[in-house]
Amino acid sequence: MRRILGLLLAVLIVSSLGGFAGYAQAEELPRNETLYVGGGLWSPPTNFNPLNPSPVTGTVGLLYETLFTYDPLKDQLKPWLAEEGKWINDNTYEVKLREDLKWQDGKPLTAEDVKFTFEIARKHKGVFFSNIWSWLKEVKVVDDRTVDFVFSDPHYTEWNYWLYMIPIIPKHIWEKIDNPVDYANNENPVGSGMYKLYKTDQMRCIWVRNDNWWGIKYFGKPAPKYIVYVIVYSNNVALTMLVKGDLDWSNFFIPGVPDVKSKYKIVTWYDKPPYHLSANLALLFLNDNKTPFNNPDFRRAIAYAINPKEIAQRASQNQVLPADPSGLLPLPSHQKIKAEDLIKKYGWSYDPEKANEILDKLGYKDVNGDGFREYPDGKPMRFTIIVPYGWTDWMEMARIISDQLAAVGIRVDPKFPDFGKYWDDITKGTFDMAINNFGSFISITPWTFYNWILDPNVAPTGEPTYGGNWGRYKNPEVAELLTEIARTKTLEEAKPLYRKLQEIWLKEVPYIPLIYNGAWYEASPAHWTNWPSEKNPYAYPITWHNYWQLGGALVLLKIKPVTAGGGATTPAKTTESAKGSTTPSPTSKDKGLCGPAALVALSLVPIVLYRRRR
């Protein structure tokens, strides 16, 4: 009986593992031609649809390309698929495409494809840029390489943003797809970019270089033949991989980096704190609809009580910069409009005395002597600050803020709900205080930042809103300024408007800037060199979704393998390149009994046998 039982179990295991498909061909990616990247992929790669809000990182930038790219270091819009683009009259923008553009399947990329990309967003509201059609009138094909965008209400400033955000898709493929919004596009997708999708599985996404890329004659050839984008769930594992040289390019926030940087020669942007460039702004959101946060003076008191320097140091090991009152990022596009004189005049800095003074004057006093202030009518005053559970650096920030506010007598309890609850609370405006940064990313125009944070079209409290104006700050003047700025043609024209916005921001203190979150970047010199850094600032080195066209792709063009790859071919490499000619058709699956299954079963046998003998 027992023997039968044992055998039964063994058979069960083997048969269940039989489904664990093996592959016919053995292959290991050559280390000197493979780049291992991580930090922008947090779930098994499934979605390569560039029309979708959150495809796998690389879908835009590696696979599909945009008309322009944007360099946040120099604040420049650079032609990519386009050769040039200009306003030919007040409401027509003309794009001239480069010569000899082609798709990865060899077909030419023409003006028709550009038109098609925009038309698809007109028909399908689920496409992430479909709202453009509320101010775009039509897209006209002039000739094979020329497209005219005719606007009903040209948003000149906003248009610059979309120019480097919208990926161009091939008409000859997508016109056959019924619903382009929920199309996963994960089987041999055809883009125009420098990499093709090679293979995906549960732990990674592998890209292979497109050796027929149209851009080789303009930009050169990217160095890595393969890019393995790995999924790593824990920062500690990422750090281990980085110091071992198993991960070449990391865009993780890794707490230990300052300690191990010199020992393992890890490249970061700056050699000293803050180590990283800035990527976005984390703010303390106050619920401006609730008493007492609806009082600008009360908000100002809180601003005086908070010390961003301490937050940067304690919560992020000085891997970030403390924010100044304007909240404008230390990158040229934001610095160009920053009004230092206004900050001096209306701004604030850490000064608990001043905070106490304002609060006393407003009548918030500690009546019952418990060390915390009460409302003027004597009722106890107590707030919560929320950040999602598990976001450890933010959790620490919330605790520090709670301590800093306690020092001026405001009682704030840090609360760490699950992300779903947190998100529900901030989108519906039912929180007291919260930390958030989602839409404050660097872009070609500070308008995107202001339009997010001061979004005038917020839903009333209780209904979800998806701009960044979580506390529902309302000011008709702001709404007007934002619409005006979107329609300005030049920066000079916009500057006075930005000044007005900053003045309102500094006087009214809708929300309080805390720190400039980093563009986390750590690179290992073990297998690849010529990484960008402060001394060699050729690109913004980030590989998150929507950041490839901000610099990630340029890094691929400039890095060099440590072991000479090109001329000095090792035997391993020749066999690889021979194989490479037949790629990238993923190797066919060979369903069958996999080795591991057999070995597992084998390990069972001694036990079964042993028990039989007894």
């Binding site: 053995a26 493979t34 779930s43 992430f128 529900d424 809103t465 069958g592 036990i607």
Partner: protein, 332 residues
């Protein structure tokens, strides 16, 4: 034989009822959480507020979440009975069935050997400990230590000692990031190297519990009258143990059935610690992202596999315990 049939019919009825209510609860509970999956989907899309608004209403409609709850419930059962588990919002636009299909083999590769081997080895070690006093005093503390360790803690300890300190085994993934799955020896060795730590972390923790249970049962059975009687008749030690073991194993089989559900929790933490692909991590992300469809799908699979395993064990019970058989065939 009609007794067995009656037994089976009754069991089947209970299982169908359990299945129906378990799946209903799995459908309902995520919907009672504050927030909704589309809203969270929007959070991953940092863009202009206008664009998000457009997309929100589009996706609410396309996922059918704008309909009243009871309509959603009926649609859910309609879809499930057609084998359609819906589309995930967390891993949009991948169908839930495909996600599970891709992840499940890894769970099976870890869980099935861990559960069966720990049960077999645990019972065996427990039986040895039960009859050997000297070994018992040495083994028991080990068993208690193992069974008292939380899965994730034990996994981290293993990863730290064997992976990081001694650098013997890899601590992340199901195979090296640079290797392509194949039937080559190289890949199999690589796969097994990655498999050992997650397997061990489950195997050892589960082992402790089984061993303790078995050891206690053996000690109890050895004291029973029938063993005393055998002893008085002069039966050999081997015969004594054989009978004691047969009786002691019965509660352990029941225990296995009861434990199956909780073992899923072990898989979850193990997968996170070792970045091992599988349903555990995906399910957790699904819950954090309130991905109704993914949660439903994963629990459906878990419910079905637990029920099937229980059913098999019920059948086995009728085979290995003559008393169960007799109770149904009595009087015929």
């Amino acid at each position: 034989m009609s007794g067995i049939r009656r037994y089976l019919i009754r069991k089947t009825f209970v299982y169908v009822l359990t299945f129906f209510s378990a799946v209903t609860i799995d459908w309902l509970i995520p919907r009672l959480m504050p927030g909704n999956p589309i809203s969270i989907m929007m959070s991953r899309f940092a863009s202009l507020p206008e664009a998000s608004k457009y997309m929100y209403s589009y996706f609410m409609e396309s996922f059918g979440l704008d309909k009243p709850l009871w309509v959603q419930y009926i649609n859910f059962w309609k879809a499930v009975l057609h084998g359609d588990l819906g589309i995930s919002t967390y891993m949009y636009p991948k169908p839930v069935a495909d996600i599970i299909k891709d992840a499940l083999p890894y769970d099976i590769a870890i869980l099935l050997p861990a559960i069966t081997l720990s049960w077999i080895v645990g019972n065996w070690l427990g039986a040895i400990a039960g009859k050997n006093k000297k070994l018992d005093s040495f083994l028991m503390p080990v068993f208690y230590f193992l069974t008292a360790s939380p899965y994730f803690w034990f996994a981290i300890v293993l990863a730290y000692i064997l992976g990081a300190k001694l650098d013997l085994l890899p601590i992340s993934g199901a195979y090296s990031y640079g290797i392509m799955p194949s039937l080559s020896l190289e890949f199999i060795v690589d796969f097994l190297k990655h498999w050992i730590l997650p397997f061990l972390s489950l195997f050892l923790v589960m082992l402790g519990g089984w061993a303790i249970g078995m050891r206690n049962m053996i000690i109890y059975e050895v004291e029973a009258d029938y063993v005393r009687y055998l002893e008085a008749l002069g039966a050999s030690e081997k015969t004594l143990m054989k009978h004691a073991f047969r009786n002691a194993i019965l509660p352990q089989v029941t225990g296995l059935a009861l434990q199956l559900g909780t073992m899923v929790a072990g898989a979850l933490t193990t997968e996170i610690v070792f970045s091992y692909p599988g349903i555990g991590y995906i399910l957790m992300q699904g819950i954090l992202n309130q991905d109704y469809f993914l949660i439903q799908g994963c629990f459906l699979v878990i419910v079905i596999s637990v029920l099937v395993a229980n059913f098999i064990i019920d059948l086995l019970y009728a085979v290995i315990d003559p008393r169960v058989r007799f109770s149904f065939t009595e009087g015929e």
